[in-house]
Symmetry: C2
Subunit: 457 residues, 2 copies
């Protein structure tokens, strides 16, 4: 299909979704759930084809086995499929993020200004591997009132196609139901969710800023940068994370050990895992060795600078296979595994400077018993998440209580940190007048003055 | 000076500004006011040089006289200079946009999450001509806690340089005062506002997304597009506006005349002036001729489609110099003068489709006595401002009561419509813990459950 037509259809669907009532959006999600459940076997068959092709790639050494595992849409005893279906209900139950009034001001009698939360419009989501993302993003887009164009990984092509086809069928059902039912004054768009699957199509779509409002690449840093470099469309970067934890002079040892071990070992491949440990020099001999040994006992490889290595002199022998000298580039590296770079700093300022220079503005934590140091750190560290005595692993939409997340943004504008439904919305200003012109207001006795009074809601 | 060093200095200043108290920021604005007032003659002398050089350009036909006028920083009897100085006080009096808590949630006992409004960081503002913009943007940046790099037009080079030099002197004074005064725990950055003036430097700065968080081009559409095409930095587009007004079937004639005439003639060169008038076919013979004649009597040139031209058949003779046939491209054109394109539509849907296809998402209005049509229009038109029975000219930060504006954004993300101090802020998530790890939570009896309770503020 013509790529411009897909984008135009998405824009038209987005415009219609601006009118969709919460009830209509809920019907759409329920319809998706029903159609996917009814066609489970068709989905599994398509997925089996993808798995079969992928297995050959794994055997040929062209695909990692972890990626292969992520392709599986059914899981053990169908658990993954059930989770996917349950996820539709969960999004359905979330509060509608649109319609909220975030500013209400009387400019004059019979001239009232409201700022109202509304969908962004059309989002383009580029993701890799896991086919269930099609369903997840489709639901988030519809719930937030956005049309979505999805581009999945080629490994999941068969699964993605069947899922997109079934979602379209579900939306067509709702559309017809709404047309046949007087309760709904407005049509529901059949094209709210569309799939493209050729890599070249992405390049073309990225030029269509007239029709697409927001691009969300979910994947590697290089994917995010490549999208940013090739479009005028705003990009919500779901980048990986280079998170740091700073052990302050007055840190509590027990908290330090628990938080650092959790942040490193709970799920090392996650973007919110810690990659750099900064240690105040005053606790190098006293507390640091205990933290280091807790990590070593969990099989974490330590990249140590000379000062931290010296502090571990008594233990180097026993853990020689888990201790290496840190290189400069280790402090800019996401290990995404059981490895961590350690650096000794002589002050909280040095720790903050290091994080602001080397971190990825994702999530950084301080372990300290000093409230003033904690507040100083939390204000001056430039990251989406700044934590006091808590693991960086809490940076997650579900843990924050957002119910669902589009991803974690390391952007400095629009939406930052775990992005839920609210991050897919913007606002418009509605002005309710009675025929006024701006020239009615101004200086001079014959002119009106602005009242600028807040309207109580 | 080295452009990377300027960007690094800006980042460092931005990091320090994250700590600045409202009192410190107020001191900085007062210091700027004082230093600029004391050095008025130096500013006027530099401005006179710019004016002299520009006059030669005007005489040689290379510069417009309107641009020449905008260069003048003093104005008649020094009015413009006084307005500039007064503007500093006005920004000083605005509410500090940072520190506001927009979400507070108890994840568990002693694990509290807060979303706190904070400065974006470093902004790059590219503007043309008027030198007082240096002062205006400097104040908005400081008040919102951002470091700013400014690039002005080359015509105002001498004026801009003196203003930037004096602002730096003012900030240095505050910095020293803060260092000498125990009340202020944190330093105030001297490099909060920096000026660059070579066109090539912009290209280099646009590559420095590591140090610059937001680019704000204020000027022509081509400037905005060129910035968008050459950077990974998010761009807040202060684009021009293609605003439309739709006269609905049930419009009130008096309101229609007043609003349309105001929107077209109050200040035709402004981005919030109306450029396209859409007329429902049912009022073509009854109400439209009165609206058209009101515009014609104000010397507005009408670009008429065949249907609207036919409706004016009795008047074409008398206004032959003000009536031309509309071409397709007129509906995509910003006249920015006393001209308007007129198109007849057969339904509100056609009007909305036309606006969503041809408008610039700035501000669009409907004139109608039907509340349901107004609400339908306001929801489905995709623009920063959607107005009912009010002139598009109200789209302005001062009129909205924001006190000051950085510009009007036609973006779909981050900030939309007139952008005040709030548009220069983002948020960070602060998590206050007691040593918890994410692995403490989960399924199973030994694991904790998230409480996700709202915290009352």
């Amino acid at each position: 299909m013509d790529i411009v037509q897909i984008a135009k259809d998405a824009r038209e669907a987005g415009n219609l979704l601006q009118l969709a009532s919460p009830e209509q959006k809920s019907l759409a999600l329920k319809s998706i759930k029903q159609v996917l459940s009814q066609h489970k076997q068709e989905i599994l068959d398509a997925n089996a084809k993808d798995m079969e092709l992928a297995l050959k790639e794994v055997e040929a050494g062209r695909l990692s086995s972890s990626l292969y595992k992520r392709l599986d849409i059914n899981g053990k005893n169908g658990e993954k499929f059930e989770t996917m279906i349950k996820g539709i209900d969960e999004v359905d139950l979330l509060q509608d993020p649109t319609g909220e009034i975030t500013l209400a001001r009387k400019l004059d009698d019979k001239l009232s200004l409201y700022r109202v939360r509304c969908p962004v419009g059309v989002i383009l989501v580029i993701f890799e591997a896991r086919p269930e993302v099609v369903v997840n993003i489709a639901c988030l887009a519809i719930k937030s009132g956005n049309a979505a164009i999805l581009k999945g990984g080629k490994e999941a092509s068969n699964s993605n196609h069947v899922l997109a086809k079934l979602i379209k069928q579900a939306l067509t059902n709702v559309s017809e139901e709404c047309l046949a039912n007087n309760r709904f004054p407005h049509e529901f768009p059949r094209n709210a969710v569309q799939l493209v699957d050729k890599r070249e199509e992405i390049h073309d779509l990225l030029q269509l800023d007239k029709y697409i409002d927001l691009a969300i690449p979910r994947g590697s840093n290089s994917l995010v940068k490549s999208v940013q470099n090739n479009t005028r469309i705003p990009v919500l970067g779901h980048a990986d994370g280079l998170c740091s934890i700073y052990l302050d002079e007055s840190c509590d040892l027990e908290k330090a050990i628990h938080v650092v071990v959790d942040a490193k070992t709970d799920y090392p491949a996650a973007c919110n895992s810690v990659e750099t440990l900064l240690v105040h020099s005053s606790i190098l001999e006293s507390k640091f060795p205990f933290v280091a040994k807790a990590l070593l006992s969990m099989n974490v490889l330590l990249h140590l600078d000379s000062a931290s290595k010296a502090a571990l002199k008594n233990d180097i022998q026993s853990y020689s296979n888990l201790i290496v000298d840190a290189k400069d580039e280790d402090y800019d590296h996401e290990f995404l595994g059981l490895e961590i770079a350690v650096k000794v700093v002589s002050s909280i300022d040095e720790a903050i400077s290091h994080i602001n220079e080397h971190g990825s503005k994702h999530t950084d934590a301080i372990i300290t018993e000093s409230e003033s140091n904690a507040e100083f750190f939390m204000r001056k560290v430039d990251a989406a998440g700044v934590y006091w005595n808590a693991s960086t692993r809490f940076a997650d939409g579900f843990r924050y209580g957002f119910g669902a997340e589009v991803g974690v943004s390391t952007n400095k504008t629009h939406a930052r940190g775990p992005v839920g439904l609210e991050g897919l919305t913007i606002y418009k200003y509605k002005l309710y007048g009675n025929g006024q012109g701006a020239s009615d207001f101004g200086l001079g006795s014959e002119k009106k003055q602005y009242k600028h009074e807040d309207i109580k809601l």
